[in-house]
Amino acid sequence: MPTFEISPQMMREIIMDHYQNPRHKGKPAMPEKYQVMHASSTNCIDDFDVYLLSVDGLVKDAMFDGVACTISTASTDILCDRLIGLDFEKAKYLIEQYMAMIAEKPFDEEVLDEALAFRNTGKQAARIHCATMAWSTMEEMIEKEEKK
């Protein structure tokens, strides 16, 4: 089944929307219930915390808070959007598909939805890290939860 075509203009709008009005940016009201992990890099300014709340292998909430560029803010916000409500298997599949897209390898478009806006990140190699930082951090957090 073909997915809908996403135009560059729509991609721009999705990125700007999640950058200017992030839905999941901020500290959770009850941070003690969340697993938190720091995401930062020596290659860029981005420096933020990622929060994950899960119950019985299901993502209940995901948030982030800190300093981040447009690509990093928007990609993290969309990640949180997509993750909430998924079980760990689906969550890991989503992250895997996103990483494949960024690496310009074959991937499953269906699950990515708005995250497709980042398919051109490879054009600005220095920002690949920004587009994936929260995603790999979240993957690590899910794996940690699974081991509990």
Partner: protein, 409 residues
């Protein structure tokens, strides 16, 4: 009239039609490193192609040549900054030079209760070594306040000095704000109070005339790669009497006079005492070619040109109405700015998409809060080979800043 194009032909990186993201390269990141001349590159290549050998006590001709080229470099660097050859120590760069003073001098002579004064505009390499000294000796590290614009004044140094102050360590030109610090006056003030003045010259020595005798600073650190020289080579200048009192940071071959297995060792006199191990020979030789190149242009010509170019850039950038400049009145060719409503890192990516190399950065939190009022900025930095056309490309990109996401489409 200074013409940068007269020099651009001497730089492969500027004449080889290098492109970035499909655009001709516009290099505005000279505060982080500079391009190399043919003379620097061929000097290095000649060493490997025609007279490779190690330095120190060679009994054959090739080694003798290397030794004499190294000592010639010391002479050239010494006369470049008004020093004596014996006061020039080769290091791996400014960071190494400052660490050498911190570990070799400060950690030896400072004690609990002593004070080291820095400013809040210093680069990490002029802060962190002093934190190590604090850890090792119990001395305190304090900061001289800057003016509202981020300038260091003699008045503020005077107010900060106490009876316990033993070392003042400051940049002659700061890497973010680009103000020229009145080193000569500060040196006089320090010496009246028996304080050692250490100067970070990383951003000044490549861009303006620096004469250590005139300034009367006690130590001066700088890097070769910021003045068209190779990476991995730098200089520590120290007054000879101070170098003699200083301990080596590293020990080993090339710096000892003799040693035995009973634990006795004696070290060579400075500067050799501080040059343990096989030196960065290609770096030293390349540094000579670089210093000769910039000296021929004339450091005051370079300074005058960069000041003019800076004025041109500030005027044009402000005219776009699309940027904030945080140091419009600074003297050095460093412009720190943000494009309106664009996060610094996004702006730098956008500039990359236009072939323009600038650096985005997050600076010391205190400086940001007090002077910049922002978490991050973009820095454009010039050199004598930067042209008005380079500046125009930057201005044009800034004017179109709101299209920053075009970098991806």
């Amino acid at each position: 009239m200074f013409d940068p194009n007269k020099y651009r032909k001497d730089f492969p990186m500027l004449r080889n039609g290098i492109k970035m993201q499909g655009h001709p390269l516009v290099w505005l990141d000279n505060a982080s490193t500079t391009f190399k001349t043919d003379s620097v590159i061929s000097t290095i290549s000649d060493y490997y192609s025609f007279y490779t050998s190690n330095s120190h006590r060679g009994d054959y001709d090739l080694c003798f040549k290397v030794d004499s080229e190294i000592e010639k470099t010391r002479d050239v660097v010494a006369s470049f900054i008004g020093a004596k050859a014996q006061e020039i120590v080769f290091t791996s760069g400014t960071t190494n030079s400052l660490n050498l003073v911190a570990f070799g001098y400060a950690s030896k002579y400072l004690k609990k209760g002593d004070e080291i004064l820095l400013t809040e505009a210093e680069h990490a390499s002029n802060v962190l070594p002093w934190y190590k000294v604090r850890e090792m000796t119990g001395a305190s590290v304090n900061f001289i306040p800057l003016t509202k614009e981020g300038r260091l004044t003699v008045e503020n140094v005077k107010k900060s000095i106490t009876a316990n102050t033993k070392i003042v360590s400051i940049a002659q030109v700061t890497n973010v704000l680009g103000y020229i610090v009145p080193i000569k006056e500060i040196a006089a003030l320090c010496h009246r109070n028996n304080i050692i003045l250490v100067v970070d010259g990383a951003q000044s020595v490549p861009h303006l005339p620096v004469d250590v005798q005139d300034l009367d600073c006690d130590f001066l650190a700088f890097s070769g790669h910021k003045l068209c020289g190779p990476t991995g080579i730098g200089v520590l200048y120290g007054k000879y009497s101070l170098l003699q009192k200083m301990d080596p940071f590293m020990t080993g071959g090339g710096m000892n006079a003799k040693f035995d297995m009973c634990g006795d060792a004696s070290f060579l006199e400075p500067p050799m005492r501080f040059e343990a191990g096989t030196q960065n020979i290609e770096g030293i030789l390349g540094l000579k070619a670089a210093v000769e190149y910039v000296s021929k242009i004339g450091m005051s010509n370079i300074e005058t040109y960069e000041t003019e170019l800076r004025k041109y850039a500030v005027d044009r950038i402000l005219k776009t109405g699309n940027a904030t400049i945080y140091n419009p009145d600074a003297e050095a060719g460093i412009i720190t700015f943000n494009i309106k409503d664009v996060f610094a890192q996004d702006a730098a990516t956008f500039l990359n998409s236009k072939g323009i190399a600038c650096r985005s950065g997050q600076h010391c939190a205190k400086i940001l809060m007090d002077f910049l009022g922002t978490v991050a900025t973009v820095r454009a930095s010039f050199y004598f080979y930067t042209t008005k056309e380079d500046v125009d490309a930057l201005v044009d990109a800034i004017a179109h800043g709101k299209e920053f996401l075009d970098a991806y489409f």
